[in-house]
Every structure is written in C-alpha cells, then in structure tokens.
Subunit: 203 residues, 2 copies
C-alpha cells in the first residue's frame, strides 16, 4: 500500500502518463499553474494543468493545560473568517544539509513548524512530533501538508505576520476543538485532519 508497493503493482505501469514537456503557464503570488504535455496510456497526448506550490507544515499546538492554540483568519477564497491552526510554507533553509528529492527530514519539518507557530501565534513548543503527510488535493495541485503536533506550548515568542495576514489568536479547550470537528462547525480541512489524526493515534 505504500509507494514502493504501488510501483510494484503489475497494473500500475499501465496507468502512468508520460510527461513530454512541462512549463509554468501562469504565475501569481502564492502559486503557479503548470501545464504539462502528457501522453496517456492509450497513446493520446494532451495538456494537463495543475497548481504548483511549495510544501507546507500544519501545526496542532497544545498547551500544558490541555488547550489548543487556534487562529481565526479571513479566508478570501471562501469569503469568511476561518478557525484553523497555524500553517505555512516550508522554506529552503528549513532543510539544511542533506536536502534531497522526496519528503523533508523530521528536523526540517520541525524547524518550519516552530517558525510558523511563533510567527502566527507567538507561541513556542517544548516538543514537536511529526504526525503524517498528506496531499490534500492531488488531482489538481502538488500541495503536500506535513502535519506536526506541538506540545507544551507557551506564549513566549514575538509574532511576525505577513502584510496581508489578519489573525486573531486564542486558546480553547482541546475538547471544544474536537467537538467542532465532530459537529461540522470546523470546516478547515487541515485542522480537521490534524485533530482526527491526533484522536486516532494519541487518545
């Protein structure tokens, strides 16, 4: 079921597309759109467009008192204030030495998580634990979300928001955050994945 298994599956070679060309077709702040010229298994060729964006970390921050640090933030794409958890793009300097293709090291993910947590919320964690990695919408984007649990969080850092980030930070009982996942009030898919994962494997 992992990638190696999938590659070994006898049918999978029949599913692969061949990439004949790839170019950025559109660029804007935040992401590019690439157009790949591809050959399908039946031999036909066509263009395929997808969003090209850097990998990101998603941080579930818990305080020593069993609270979660959450953020309320305007989300223009959905036209409302969104309750979520800290998240942001990984930077090249997160990886340090030994960078290579494929998934980043645990240390790189933790560096990115610590930075995004501090910048967006002003909190620092005692410890980080990598939870899982998912591709939230791999039909139309190469986005990768590395989920990280941050424990022992205390408000000891200075916030440093991007110019267009309007963020309100508060702590809520973790069980209230879980209840919002269960009743559907929390629509932020990144936060939902982090909370569900934490529930399944840590509680």
């Amino acid at each position: 079921m992992d990638d190696a298994d999938a590659a070994d599956h006898p049918d999978n070679a029949d599913l692969a597309w061949e990439t004949l060309d790839s170019a950025v077709d559109y660029a804007c702040p935040g992401f590019d759109v690439r157009r790949d010229e591809v050959r399908f298994p039946d031999g036909d060729t066509d263009g395929f467009h997808y969003v090209d964006e850097p990998p990101a970390v998603v941080v579930l921050p818990l305080t020593p008192d069993g609270e979660a640090v959450v953020i309320d933030e305007w989300r223009q794409a959905v036209g409302r204030v969104n309750r979520g958890i800290p998240a942001g793009t990984m930077e090249p300097e997160d990886e340090g030495e030994g960078s290579a293709d494929g998934d980043p090291s645990d240390a790189a993910v933790e560096r990115a998580a610590a930075r995004e947590l501090a910048e967006e919320t002003g909190y620092e964690a005692d410890a980080f634990e990598r939870l899982t990695t998912v591709e939230p919408t791999n039909g139309m984007a190469n986005a990768v979300h590395h989920h990280v649990l941050a424990t022992g969080c205390e408000p000891t850092a200075d916030r440093d928001l991007d110019h267009n980030e309007s963020i309100s930070v508060e702590t809520v009982p973790y069980d209230d955050l879980l209840a919002a996942v269960v009743d559907g009030g929390l629509r932020d898919g990144r936060a939902v994945t982090a909370v569900l994962w934490y529930e399944l494997l840590h509680r």
Copy 2:
C-alpha cells in the same frame, strides 16, 4: 465554533477583508484562478489570487463483506500512481429544485456520490450517509469536499470514465486501508480524511 458563532465573535469584523472587485484572471480545464481586489483591515488594498473550482464529493465505499472499494489512478501533479477513493465534481443537476447559496442538500450530495461511484468504479451502494464537509486548502482555493459513506456496495453498474482517467479498481479489506492511513502509506488527503472520520464516529 460554527459559522454563526464565528460571525458573532466581536473580533471577527476586524478580520474581514472588503472585496472591491473580482475577475477570472486565468482559466484552464479543471479550474480558474480569480484575482480579487481587496481592502485589508488596515485600509491597504491589493490583489489576492485563488483557485476557483466547483465543490466535489468524496465517497468511502464499503462492501457487505467489510471491504473498501479503492482506485489506483495516475496523478500528474505528484507524478505517481495514487491510491484513493472515488471523488468528483458536483454537477448543477445534482441539486434539483430548491438549490440556493450555501451547502448542497443531502439528496444532492448523495446523487453526486452515486454517480461518481458508478462512473469510476462500476459499484452501486445500498445506502449513503453524509459524513462531513471540509475545505481542504481554503488559503488558496475555494474547494469544498463533501464526504459520503456508501455502504452495501456491489459491482452492478457500468463504468464511464472521462477521456483522461486511467483508473484501476479493486477491493481491499477495510482494515488494510486503515493500516495504510496509520503507517503513512496512503498520502491521498481526501481518503485519509474519510477514513479518519469513519474511524472516529462509526467504529
């Protein structure tokens, strides 16, 4: 914690951006990119770009024998065969009468789920149950995923794939699918959300 509560939160009005203009800045098969001209809470104005795409259904199909119907499919955006579950875009005819702004009716989501399940896998379900609705990447896209559980699935329909869909269908023990979520072998975020949700609330 739900949207109504969020709107009532005294700080949330301070977070809202004002939309001064909105236009499609780029179009390709599958999605558009919109550029909104916005005014931030501090009074500055700027453009904000995001992916504009229709809402989708994600279907977790289970057979009477406790197997899950899964699909292996090439995903050009991530350059590999992806194991996932059926998913697809909602169509205007799914809603029927009574359509309005906001989330679709349960009946509309079930119609879309039944269609995507049949088209992609050739299976039909005895019953559908709506699980949850999430916005997987609402920082950069207005994508909405309506998750649906489909039970009593049997291979009684004809598949009807889009021209560029190369899909291999098989059934696997549900517990194997869960194990792949837990060990990180399953990276498809939609499938991970559906399985985690099913685990939390139904098992």
